[in-house]
């Protein structure tokens, strides 16, 4: 269609001719009576280049930037508006291979999506890592006091458990565990002592019926015959007697009195060596409690600022144990440090 129309010089701006910018340029040149060689010399180009331009053979030109530039210069020489010609040249099918920028966005799009996927995945990983860190951090304060408590609890629990079995064979010599057991092996007879001894004293009297009675009647009975209580006497119920082992060094004396006084509302929980709760609840200003039960005690004091702990009247520094306003610690009154 364009070929039929092309010979007619007066069709300067129909869509068909715009589709073929080279044809339009040739028409304009011929209309002005210019030779290709003259145009070529004016544009400082070779005549072959001008022919290639007129025939829309852009693949014979050095590159898109030059093809567009030559077109613009040629159009300007002929006094034609170069913009529609350049747009037509860009849209021409031959031009596509010389204008790689047209196909580039697709690659960029694929690249961009893969980058976004990478970002999303890495964001998810970072979020997961932060979440796990937060979980660990939250659970940390709960965990930390326990090892401390176990350290103090464990040796007495595990140490006496073995001696009885061994002493059952060799009653008088607590041979294999002398390192941990020196306090432990003689502890069993001794362990009876602190419980047996307080009884005459007035203070701990009420504790005896209240706490150990329902669960642990056996150690009490074994504890009573002080001198008879050899190692074999309590092979089964090892749990209660051994805990008192720590006390043994000071056992001859009465256990120190541990008292809590409050100047304001404070939540508190105290457990004895058997992890039995001996004191719990919210206490108010002016309350005073003397701890009974077997040390060491495990304290959770909710408001250390309002609580005051004394051991035999000596004040105990709660602030040193407090984290924030809450103190979690284990205390053996006979060994305050």
């Amino acid at each position: 269609m364009s070929e039929i129309r092309s010979p007619s010089p007066e069709a300067p701006s129909t869509p068909d001719t715009v589709m073929h910018p080279g044809q339009r340029l040739r028409q304009q040149r011929e209309a002005r009576g210019l030779e290709i060689t003259r145009v070529a010399s004016q544009l400082h180009l070779r005549p072959e280049t001008i022919e290639a331009l007129e025939q829309d053979r852009y693949d014979q030109l050095p590159g898109p930037v030059f093809a567009i530039g030559y077109l613009r210069n040629y159009a300007r020489l002929l006094g034609v508006d170069p913009t529609p010609l350049i747009e037509a040249a860009r849209a021409a099918p031959q031009q596509q291979k010389t204008l790689p920028t047209r196909s580039r966005p697709q690659r960029n799009l694929a690249e961009a999506t893969s980058r976004w996927m990478m970002r999303l995945i890495s964001l998810a990983l970072v979020a997961a890592a932060i979440g796990m860190l937060a979980l660990w951090w939250q659970s940390r304060p709960e965990l930390t006091p326990e090892p401390i408590a176990e350290q103090t609890d464990e040796p007495p629990q595990s140490a006496p458990r073995t001696p009885p079995q061994q002493t059952a064979v060799t009653p008088s010599t607590p041979g294999p565990a002398p390192v941990t057991a020196p306090p432990a092996a003689p502890a069993q007879p001794m362990s009876a002592a602190p419980q047996a001894e307080p009884r005459p004293t007035p203070a701990p009297v009420p504790t005896v019926p209240v706490q150990p009675a329902p669960l642990e009647p056996v150690p009490r009975s074994t504890a009573l015959p002080r001198t008879l209580a050899t190692a074999e006497s309590a092979p089964v119920d090892t749990e209660t007697p051994p805990e008192v082992v720590i006390e043994s060094p000071t056992s001859p004396a009465a256990p120190p009195e541990v008292a809590l006084e409050f100047t304001g509302n404070c939540w508190i929980e105290v457990r004895d060596v058997n992890r039995r709760i001996i004191l719990t609840g919210e206490l108010r200003a002016g309350d005073r409690r003397v701890l009974e039960g077997e040390p060491p005690y495990r304290f959770i004091i909710g408001n250390t600022a309002m609580a005051r702990l004394t051991i035999d009247g000596e004040p105990f520094d709660l602030d040193a144990r407090a984290r924030g306003n809450v103190a979690r610690f284990t205390l053996d009154p006979s060994q305050p440090d």
């Binding site: 180009l45 930037v65 530039g69 030559y70 920028t101 980058r115 890495s122």
Partner: protein, 348 residues
């Protein structure tokens, strides 16, 4: 370092054309995302003696020459290189953040910056450190003519010589490129700013009137021309008459501006001719065959391509969108970083 890497995942790689007049940023996969004047307005706090950034870019440019005593509007780049290190760093920081506006994480992109080929090692290091200080994770430098040639779409990797002229705000660069490398390059400290100064001087000399840089730039854009054209353009301008001390208005035409620009333009033409002389003959033949490519905002001066064509007798073509060629070329080079570490990037 690790944090920068993580933040880098959320940042776009950027190619920055840190020009004397304008800063353009090309973001990988997004195209040109920023085109603002390289101007920073600084507020001086007299009470504390401290300085703070009042405005950057377009907003700051409007303040040029119109500031009260407490504000100074400055161009931190001069002749294509850093004139004020701290302010440049602030400006880059602002632009990088602006490009990543919607992000929560502060950006730490890989940045490629175009430097004039005539810049010294000290100047290049200043640009590198300024970008690093603005938050860039890695900084690459590329010479402006190379970036301009890539941006214009020249086949730089071919064993054919291409000549590219990049007329920027502060400098003009002429280079012959072949096989991904610069064979010859020259840089003259003449650019768009020099044209503005020439217009200011011409008006003062011939009309006894003082005009500002912004007005001179407007004159250049409206009626500026480098080659005598068929039509004469006119423009009414207002300035302060030096003799009377009162603002007066007068009319300038394009021929006067052509006359005013003769000196800086002949400087550029001289550099081009010198480059042609110095080019090895094989490459010179290639240039003669294909022609010279013009890029940079300064080349948009009316008739500039015809002037070069006339003076050299070689075909001269204007690149598409010459203002953004350097930034776009930097962006394309940035995409090549991962594919193949070519010799495109300059060492310090």
């Amino acid at each position: 370092m690790v944090f920068r890497r993580i933040r880098g995942m959320f940042s776009n790689d950027l190619s920055i054309d840190l020009g004397t007049a304008n800063t353009l940023i090309y973001a990988r996969g997004r195209g040109i995302v920023l085109d603002e004047p390289s101007v920073v307005a600084i507020r001086h706090d007299r009470a504390t003696g401290g300085k703070s950034v009042a405005a950057v870019g377009e907003e700051a440019k409007l303040m040029l020459g119109r500031t009260p005593q407490s504000i100074t509007a400055v161009r931190p780049m001069k002749d294509g290189v850093i004139a004020d290190f701290t302010v440049t760093e602030k400006m880059l920081q602002y632009f990088i953040h602006k490009v990543h506006e919607s992000r929560l994480i502060s950006p730490s992109p890989r940045v490629l910056i175009c430097v004039p080929c005539g810049s010294t090692q000290v100047e290049r290091r200043a640009i590198r450190e300024s970008a690093a200080g603005a938050g860039a994770r890695e900084v690459y430098l590329i010479e402006e003519p190379m970036s301009a040639a890539i941006g214009a779409g020249l086949p730089v990797h071919e064993p054919h010589g291409c000549m590219v002229i990049d007329i920027g705000g502060g400098t003009s660069e002429v280079a012959v490129i072949s096989l991904n490398g610069i064979v010859y390059s020259a840089s003259v400290r003449i650019g768009g700013d020099t044209f503005d100064d020439a217009i200011v001087n011409y008006v003062r000399r011939n009309y006894g009137t003082l005009i500002g840089e912004t007005t001179a730039e407007r004159i250049k854009h409206t009626i500026g021309s480098a080659y005598p054209g068929s039509e004469m353009l006119e423009m009414e301008v207002k300035g302060r008459n030096l003799a009377e001390g009162v603002p007066r208005s007068f009319t300038l035409n394009s021929n006067e501006i052509l006359e005013a620009l003769q000196e800086p333009i002949s400087g550029i033409v001289g550099a081009v001719k010198m480059a042609l002389e110095q080019t090895p003959p094989e490459l010179g033949a290639d240039v003669a065959e294909r022609g010279i490519v013009l890029t940079g905002g300064g080349s948009m001066l009316r008739g500039f391509d015809r002037l070069i064509e006339d003076e050299t007798g070689l075909p001269v073509v204007m690149a598409d969108d010459p203002l953004t060629c350097v930034a776009r070329g930097g962006g394309k080079a940035l995409e090549l970083i991962d594919e193949r570490a070519t010799g495109l990037f300059s060492v310090e």
